[in-house]
Symmetry: C2
Subunit: 207 residues, 2 copies
């Protein structure tokens, strides 16, 4: 690749990023369908027509943003898995997780994504695939934890624990909208303890 074309690609990538950032703000403020191309173009400081040089259509912008969001989630996930002390990491990182989920900004976008996924099969497949990956990682972590502690669990039981832990964290994104006064410093120790207890539930051999 020549230097010129590389610069061109860089500039083009920058424009794409510029659009995505502006669109992200607009989607948060007006929703996927309420945010018009006109508004996005204004927010990104370029003409409406120009946006179509970088994205095929509005749907493609939405998908790019969801993809971005999911990518962030997945890298966070692999980071956690590569920790040396798994159990410590899980409990320790709980604080981070709580804080992240309690960010109203990201919660708003997440609501938008999920409400879209609830009715758009394409989007549903997207978030479900990402979730499978996260869930697989989390169950593996729990499995080794439980095994080390001498528990005998069925696969479904371990999956269930993972689901409940996931529900706890994701539920915070509801909570921060329903009650913006929620205090993370109160929540974190209760969360830590709850996760600890959950991972020490008696063996569940249901199959």
């Amino acid at each position: 690749m020549s230097a010129e074309s590389k610069n061109a690609t860089q500039r083009s990538d920058a424009r794409r990023a510029q659009i995505l950032a502006a669109a992200s703000d607009c989607f948060r403020a007006y929703g996927f369908h309420g945010a018009s191309i006109a508004r996005i173009s204004e927010a990104s400081g370029m003409s409406a027509g120009h946006i179509y040089h970088y994205f095929e259509n509005k749907e493609a912008i939405i998908e790019a943003i969801v993809e971005q969001d999911i990518e962030r989630l997945l890298t966070l996930n692999t980071e956690l898995r590569s920790a040396s002390d798994i159990k410590g990491a899980l409990i320790e990182r709980a604080a981070e997780g709580v804080e992240g989920k309690l960010n109203p900004h990201s919660a708003g976008l997440q609501m938008e994504i999920m409400s879209e996924a609830a009715r758009n099969p394409r989007m549903a497949a997207f978030v479900q695939a990402a979730d499978q990956s996260c869930l697989a990682s989390l169950t593996e972590t729990i499995r080794s934890l439980r095994h080390m502690a001498g528990h005998k669990d069925s696969d479904t039981a371990i999956l269930g624990m993972a689901e409940v832990i996931a529900a706890m964290f994701e539920g915070l994104q509801f909570r921060v909208i329903r009650n913006p006064r929620i205090d993370k410093d109160i929540i974190i120790p209760i969360f830590r303890r709850a996760i600890h207890d959950l991972l020490n539930q008696p063996s569940l051999g249901i199959e």
Copy 2:
């Protein structure tokens, strides 16, 4: 009120209900902003213009549906509170709660409502007021439970427990979209146990 006007009111109420039912379906399928008046009118079997005899505008329809949904939540809440054996009721009703939250139909509408609340202050005030009521009820229940068990907790600690329990249940509405294969029969016993453990956490005297 005369018999005639009463009949008229009844018929009018029936029409309103008819519109709300149709609109509810459309909103689930297309979202608040994606569902057009034309579609709602078709689904409700009446003309577009006629809808404006019963609702001032589209916003009013949305609000009526949210109001309906919240009312259902609040009556469920008072029901729980009037149970004779509070602790038993809380653990027992967990199964019902899990099942309810795992209904994809209601989860979809809830996502829609919450994503709207995340950007529309009017809607936000609505769901926050309803949540205050539910939270107050739940904290009162937890307070008496913990007091009977001899624990000494600060108000904020009890509020924190309520928040975490709420997050668990509400999080299931995320889960059912992210992973439609989730199995309630696995989840329920883990939930019961987790709530039990949560309510038996050591005293938290933070203030």
